[in-house]
Structures are given as structure tokens and as C-alpha cells.
Symmetry: C2
Subunit: 143 residues, 2 copies
């Protein structure tokens, strides 16, 4: 049970779908390969679907498909879809007394937000196609 596995799992799942775009991928299949549970997969992929990154079909021969070309899905899209907020957290209730303290709080918060923005900017520069490409490279000289 490790942390931050949602982003990792999402990347796994997306790569699987990119690897075989012709068939819908079932949550059971993805879960098997990612070493987790189908329900966990559906939970995570549900968020990606809500963000328009994926589509899903119920019933026999159903499963999950990419909604767009892999070149048009960035890691920032995935990050946003998951609703992650790694750096900046919601500020608690304002309990500060003096103006300097409030200013400090505001500034720390703003800096955290700036950092998070930088992170998102970085994430937006890598697409699933990029991830997919490097997986093929790794596989070709796997140990």
C-alpha cells in the first residue's frame, strides 16, 4: 500500500489502452497487470472519464478506451482529472491575530501555489504518447 499510486496507476492504465487501442481494456485486465484490484482501477479511471480523457462501455465486451489521441493527453490533464493537489493544500480557518502573521500565511500559500503551477506546467509538457514511446524503448532492452 504505497502512496501516490493513483497517478502511477492512471499512467499504467493509459499506457495499456494506448498499447492496444483496438480493443476496450477491462478493469480486471488492467488491475491484473498493475497488481491491484478492479474496483480500484474503476475508481481511478472513473475520474479520468469524468474529465473526458476516457470512455467506458458496460456489459459484455465492454471496457475502457482512450477518448483522444495519446498526443493530446498530457500528464497535466491526468493530474487535474485526479484532483490531486500535491503542494498547495486548502488553508485552514483564519486564526491569525496580527497583520504580519496574516501576510505570512498569505505569502506562504501563494508560494505553494506558484510551485504547484510550475509542477503543472512541467506535467503539461509530457504526453501519454511520450510515455508510450519510452515504454517501447525500455522493453526493447529490458533486463
Amino acid at each position: 500500500m504505497k502512496r501516490n499510486s493513483r497517478l502511477s496507476l492512471a499512467l499504467h492504465a493509459l499506457s495499456h489502452m494506448a498499447y492496444d487501442m483496438e480493443n476496450a481494456q477491462t478493469s480486471a485486465d488492467i488491475a491484473d497487470h498493475a497488481g491491484t484490484n478492479p474496483v480500484v482501477v474503476r475508481r481511478v479511471l472513473g475520474k479520468l472519464r469524468a474529465a473526458g480523457l476516457l470512455t467506458s462501455e458496460r456489459g459484455h465486451s465492454g471496457g475502457w478506451r482512450l477518448a483522444r489521441d495519446t498526443r493530446h493527453i498530457t500528464l497535466a490533464d491526468v493530474y487535474a482529472a485526479l484532483g490531486e493537489s500535491l503542494i498547495a493544500s486548502d488553508p485552514g480557518p483564519e486564526t491569525n491575530v496580527c497583520a504580519v502573521e496574516r501576510a505570512l500565511d498569505n505569502r506562504v500559500l501563494r508560494i505553494m501555489k506558484e510551485i504547484e503551477d510550475s509542477l503543472v506546467a512541467r506535467l503539461s509538457q509530457t504526453t501519454i504518447a511520450d510515455v508510450q514511446r519510452s515504454i517501447r524503448q525500455d522493453a526493447s532492452h529490458a533486463h
Copy 2:
């Protein structure tokens, strides 16, 4: 009880020390202002001290001081001192069967590490002096 408050608390504490460099700041004082507990403060600042960012003195009129100029302490130093790893997590035991799966795991891990490296690079561009400067700005036109 919010997440990621250690980094936030560290920034608060450092700013306090930078604000009054002449006197050692006690954990009780910092805790009061940051709205938390002295022990929590000592826990976090202990890590910064272990990284050489701070010094502390016991006993009467003891407390915490910056070990270096504020211009020479970056947010990356603080991040590293806290031992945070927001993006990349330790890989679990290798349970993958096929080479493609192992390659995927490796690649996802590598990408997470790349992202974390970018984050650290960004953090290294902001110093405590920068933070301090903008606090003064905020305080001058506080609401």
C-alpha cells in the same frame, strides 16, 4: 489537520527567524504564531537542523536560529531536509510477470522521478530571502 503542513510550517518558522535574526526563536513562540504545537515545531525544525539549515540552543534563553544567510537557503534545501518525496514513491516489490510490464513500471517510475527533479529545480530558484521580501510587501498593503 491538513496535509503538507510540514513544508508550510517550515516556511513559517524560517520566516520568523529571518524576521528577527538577533534573538533565538523558541518553539513555543513559533508554534503560537503558526497555530500548532511546540513539539510539532521541534520535530520539523529538528530535520532542518540535521540538514545544517538551523542551529538550536537548549536551556534558558535558548531557541532556534538560522545557520546561514537567508539568501543561501532555498526551498529545495528545505524540501530535501524534510525528506519529502511528493511525486515519486518507493517501488513496491517486483511482482510483474512479463517484460513489457516491467518496462512499463520502470518507465512510470522514471517519469515520476523526472517530474520530482523538475520540482526540485523549481524550488531551488526561490530563497528564504525571496519569501521574506514578499512578506514585507504583503504586510504593507494587508487587508
